[in-house]
Symmetry: D2
Subunit: 288 residues, 4 copies
């Protein structure tokens, strides 16, 4: 079986690692703070001290980190994974990143004689734990075929979107819609509150109507109960909308609704809500 290295054991990476172990892939893991790796070590993974050490000897190296800065660090930083990766290895970047960085990273991979796939996922912690992620993959289709068994250990559905960067772009397109839907829902629910409507009833009607979506059904109740325990932190939602707008700049595509919504998220960041679930965006409106 292919030897797998997994870099990044956060909310998502932890669940993914457990599923790789369950599927009996020989697994090396790396995490910046080692303590998150300990349970995986107990579950049978080898713990590496550096990304380079993790990548050495791996057939497939997977990264699941927070943003461009973290991805650059894990691949290209001191003792980075690219230094350790074997020629011919497949590098899979599962993080949600800017398309520009993903393309640059793919170039570095090629320089090292490695294959590269961008394969960000939809789904959050529960899906990661249950092995029910959806992969949005960009890159060579034959390379994808090689690693499908590995991806299938972590997710049910695999979409191949096109060449390198297509998966990253698809993910940003998805997340810009998540961000706008949540911001607009916040505005709608705040208007309903202010108009004296029964907001639970309003949310119920909306959720079962033409605008009803999983985002609405998950975030609406949090907005009403003001329970912002984090499923997906507001800072990451702002980051993803920022990456989407960066891509729109590069492609000369206007995104006026996304641009307006992103500023509200930034208002929320400025109020210190960065670590809360992004449903907390409604608080900006509530307090004017």
């Amino acid at each position: 079986m292919q030897r797998v290295a997994l870099l990044g054991l956060g909310v998502m990476g932890g669940g993914m690692a457990h599923n790789l172990l369950r599927a009996n892939f020989p697994l090396v893991v790396y995490n910046r703070s080692r303590e998150k790796a300990v349970p995986l070590g107990e579950a049978g993974a080898r713990i590496a001290d550096t990304p380079r050490q993790a990548a050495e000897g791996a057939d497939v190296v997977i990264s699941m980190v927070a943003d461009d800065v973290a991805s650059r660090a894990v691949w290209l930083g001191g003792d980075g994974a690219l230094e350790g990766a074997s020629s011919g290895a497949v590098l899979i970047e599962c993080s949600t990143l800017s398309t520009a960085w993903v393309r640059e990273l793919a170039g570095h991979a090629q320089d090292m004689g490695c294959q590269f796939l961008d394969a960000p996922v939809t789904g959050s912690k529960p899906q990661a734990e249950a092995g029910e992620l959806t992969f949005l993959v960009g890159g060579d289709v034959r390379t994808l075929e090689q690693v499908k068994p590995i991806l299938r250990a972590m997710g049910r559905t695999i979409h191949h979107l096109g060449p390198t960067g297509s998966g990253a772009t698809m993910k940003l397109i998805n997340n810009l819609l998540v961000g706008v839907q949540a911001a607009a829902l916040a505005e709608a629910l705040h208007l309903a509150e202010n108009a004296g409507l029964d907001t639970a009833q309003v949310l119920d009607i909306l959720s079962n109507g033409a605008v009803g979506s999983t985002v609405m059904r998950m975030k609406g109740p949090k907005m009403l109960s003001r329970d912002y325990s984090t499923q997906f932190a507001l800072r990451w939602m702002h980051k993803d909308m920022t990456y989407a707008l960066d891509e729109a700049v590069r492609r000369t595509v206007p995104l006026p609704t996304v641009a307006a919504a992103r500023e509200i998220y930034r208002m929320a960041l400025a109020r210190g809500l960065d670590g809360q679930d992004f449903a907390a965006v409604v608080e900006v409106l509530r307090q004017g």
Copy 2:
């Protein structure tokens, strides 16, 4: 059985009238241009020459027209329905209108000794024809009880939201979300096009993901095929977002995402897309 008058036989009113006839309610209809009334005359309705004439002797008078101006004309204009309405009649305004006007109209109804309900609907032409509308009702709950058999002839679901104006407000809240979702989808699909992705695949992934909604599933294919045959005209979407923003002004509620999206619809109006389906909003982005 209660004698019903129905004012306005457009895309929605026509289907509603047929369902009232099917349920054997004695029906008088009025439409500004008489020819639309003819088929209903053949189906058993009496055709009135004026709203007043329609309202005379009716137990329940229903209006289903385009906007505040049309509603004002049909109720309060020359030979308007309020002049003809019997004391004790129930007046039901099903149009999507500004909350301010609905409240004013309710006051006029009370002055005439009539009961009043605001009862805008969700669903469009097919639901109107199939008797599957959803009513969002504001006003006295006992009045609503009186007319439930009539509403049930036209729709499956009846939500009572609260006092007068609550139905109107709920409808605007729903439609502002429709407008934002379609604008954001247009931005997302245009970015996908520009990034060289397979837009049908993108739409499929989005529609089956966390942001998937009926709005997305109905409007996305129209955006991709550029088929803007009208289900709901862009001018009415712009109107509804305008009424929502008017309500936000009255209630001192910020709606920054809605405000940004409304300007895009107005750009579309300025390009002459007012009579197209509101999915045509994507054209503004496509042409810069």
Copy 3:
């Protein structure tokens, strides 16, 4: 000399009245709360109990009130000025109002056999007191000629913009730019603060550069010192931008920048800053 009635003795109307007295025009004044009229009574004006009483016998009736609602009340409400106005009198509406209401009011004036001018002013309290207002006039040019001596008693400059409503529209165009400039300045200064720049120096450079304007030079120091003693209340800035957007809706003109800025002012209203000077809009950004 022409007998003048002045309705509304607020921040602006007070100064205007004094200048009319200085120019020896026989003056009747009306204000909703009588105490503001007392000093003018002492200075030689007759104090009327109602707008109607003020208008009776006047050759020229001037209104200077807060908004559409106040204007409607003073002209058309109980004991309104239109009831008292003599046929042939010239009615001058100096308030900043929606173009739609100004046009409706002009129609009522015509019905009463009166002439009508919309003549909103630029300048604030100091200019009103010094007789240095600028009048932006819409309506018949011969009517304007008749009242020029009166306007000249209150202002230096008189612009005739065109037919009825042109003055009102010009004023809204002016004020939408005021609102956007102040909002953008707030964003710029807040970014400068956050970047650790010397904001007084930044404001000085900006004020003396290509973007320097009187608005910037007046509002910038208030933003930096957080002194929001009211020259022009935030609620009126929000109102004027709302009227401008209403006009844009009627004329199918997109105003995306104005729309974004208005939402920030509404956020400020929601925080209770409505009675502060509109420079206080910066507080919304400061607190996220």
Copy 4:
């Protein structure tokens, strides 16, 4: 006298170089396309083949290029100026760039033992030619003292804003206001056009009123005459607003008005107006 190297002979750099020659500074120039350097060669400058060659032996190296990409290329690219710069030389970056890149560049300069100033300018072609630029300088004040004679050859006014990056930030703050003012003016003038006002009169009133600024007086006539001969290309205005928003992201500062305006400029880019003067932003509104 200090030996000066000037990299970039575009609209701005050309005039700056001539003023350095007039002040008798020994000058080496470099431009990507050599033909723009020829007139300067005839006027007494030495023409270098590469940035490195230009920088070799210079006491002061000045860059005046289009954007981050061009700046990176000229300093750090193959045969870049940093390779040639002598230890102890002063490097001055006069281009309008992102603060992030300026800080990175300052770090590279320090690594090479060079001094660094960010010193972007306000003023455009005529000011560059007349030696009347204004310098907005970040960096060490003693370094600035060393090069003041050189800056004074090109500009009248020198503002020291603070440490490295302060000049760049000040310039972005200035230009975001330019961008918003022009976008808002475009909206205002388009509304005036649509309302049937005499737009030349409207612009005259605005220019002489509280919102009047040099930007308005320069760009307004272009918008009305639709003469978009380039003083400052729309693509650079979009770029500067993008850099400003990038800085706002880094500093967690909301810029909702700027964000809305930037999307309009991007709409203009998408219509192929990138090479026109940024006054052409009004065309997006005119055509819906």
